[in-house]
Amino acid sequence: MNETPTGTDAMIVATGLRKTYDDFTAVDGIDFTVTRGESFGLLGPNGAGKSTTMRMIACTSQRTGGTLEILGRDTDHHGPWIRAHLGVVPQQDNLDRELTVTENLYIYGRYFGLGKKFINAKVEELLEFAQLTEKRDAKVDSLSGGMKRRLTIARALINEPEILMLDEPTTGLDPQARHILWDRLFRLKEMGVTLIITTHYMDEAEQLCDRLVVMDKGKFMAEGTPAGLIQQHCSREVIEVRFGSERNAEVADQIRDLAVRLEILPDRILMYTDDGERDLARMVERGLHPITSLVRRSSLEDVFLRLTGRSLVD
């Protein structure tokens, strides 16, 4: 099964990977290894360098520096060979709207040099997998956003890829469609397909990724399992209290000692603590009665915002 010359199960090995355009550095020296069957997530705000990293892995963008090996081969010299073994789900669907669902799958299989017989059998399997059997002869134009997305994923599986790359797989989908997609992706993961996922949905990362990195300005800010990252960069719980936008700042000084860390936002105060209920009770004992209060577990989103900041990056 394993044909990587190093004898390990390393599917992707990057060291000091860099990509610069004229005067802009998109990826600024990142190191990572992805092993077989792993589900690896790249998180980061827009412009963090996620898509550029994905393009370099998919061998459609040449690196400026560092090394990048996929399935044991250098991406600069073995692009077509590497791509023949990958599945790519781009950020924006690029299905052929003039062809039907089945034709889209068929023609894509041909790009890998697959035979008619193999493709036809595979198409049936994938139609079922993507829950598109009833739409098999429909033109792509008539499909909903979720269906198109599932078709794009099915298409990327036609060659039974060793690594499936998903660039923001569920952006723009409604909750039902997202959950169906997650279920499909989870099945692939169970089958041992290595997944590389970029997303800015934290729940998606928590659902799908064994390990993830938070990327910002072309660099890795943190790396670990979803739970590990929360533990490492955040307290166990968060109390969100609102005293009204005028009073928040004034109250903050009186409760600073209760929290491990305090974040004052225009509309609310976030208190990072280890025991939310206890500290909320202490606050009330001091005669401070917030308009609304909420105690919750820390999430990946807290980690993400802490590491990449709250300002808008568009």
Binding site: M1, E3, Y21, R36, G37, R55, A58, T60, S61, Q62, L71, G79, P80, W81, R83, A84, H85, L86, V88, P90, Q92, N94, L95, D96, R97, E98, L99, E103, I107, Y108, R110, Y111, F112, G113, L114, F118, E125, F129, R155, A156, N159, E160, P161, E162, R187, K189, E190, M191, G192
Partner: protein, 283 residues
């Protein structure tokens, strides 16, 4: 390895499923296959256009203008042959150019701008260079198809008087392929400009058609307009077609120039097109 679930019994992985050597070698053909499949959806339009176009030109220029010209020259047109015979190689080359032009420009816009389908191709073993090659292969096939239909219509109309008339097809096709390579390079270069396709039609195709010795020998127009013919693949192909078809008296060096010009123009343009598409698709 993780536990393999029920549905995945057949999953073997790409390293086993894909014959990477074959995928890498024949990528250009898979691109062509895709284009042909797309084209088949419009096949009736392609055929109708292929027949309708020559019939229109035959009726108006061939018979209408032809009767005037022939009347003037005691039944013969330029070069001492009937006007329709004189016109036929030009019409064939024009048909070749027109159809290959459509086959390189619109699919390329579709692939890189309107729908991004070329980007789906380069996510597989297919390379940008192979896309360019595949597009040219289909342009050639479509040009050949159209030219053959055109030739048959002209034959029925009585334009040909010797078996060498068949040679007008390859003469026209050299121009078709050569011009297609130029258009492919230009399309790739100006893909982001708004009115590229419309401008090409108005400012390149139409003047070429008018001033390439199509309806009259190039020597009939003032010298300061003849340069359009000299650079035009259409003139080179038309003149070559006339030599091959009915033995028009042209010096040997000029015949060689026609052939070399078309081949070199096409080859250089194709190399440029490959560079353009690779640059565009691998940022």
């Amino acid at each position: 390895m993780t536990v393999v679930s029920e549905q995945s019994r057949t999953w073997q992985g790409a390293l086993k499923v894909v014959d990477s050597q074959r995928a890498i070698r024949f990528g250009w053909w898979y691109v062509a296959e895709y284009r042909l499949r797309n084209l088949m959806k419009w096949i009736s339009a392609v055929i109708a256009f292929g027949i309708g176009n020559p019939v229109l030109y035959l009726a108006s220029i061939g018979f209408g203008v032809g009767s005037l010209v022939n009347h003037h020259g005691n039944g013969l047109g330029p070069d001492g042959v009937p006007y329709l015979t004189f016109l036929a190689p030009a019409l064939l080359a024009t048909a070749a150019i027109q159809s290959t032009f459509e086959e390189v420009t619109f699919p390329t816009m579709h692939g890189l701008k309107w729908e991004n389908v070329y980007y789906a191709m380069t996510a597989t073993a297919v390379t940008p260079n192979q896309i360019a090659t595949g597009v040219m292969v289909v342009a050639f096939l479509r040009g050949l198809f159209t030219t053959i239909i055109y030739w048959v219509v002209l034959a029925i109309a009585g334009a040909f008087h010797s078996p060498t008339a068949l040679l007008a097809i390859p003469a026209g096709m050299i121009a078709g392929v050569s011009f297609a390579a130029v258009m492919l390079a230009l399309t790739l270069r100006f893909i982001d400009s708004q009115n590229f396709l419309a401008s090409i039609g108005r400012f390149v195709i139409t003047p070429l058609f008018m001033f390439s010795g199509t309806f009259f020998p190039l020597s009939a127009i003032p010298i300061w307009l003849r340069w359009i013919g000299w650079i035009s693949p259409l003139w080179h192909a038309t003149d070559l077609g006339r030599v091959l078809m009915y033995g028009r008296a042209v010096p040997g060096w000029l015949v060689a120039t026609h052939a070399i010009y078309l081949v070199v123009l096409g080859a250089v343009a194709f190399i440029i097109a490959q560079r353009q598409i690779t640059k565009k698709m691998t940022k």
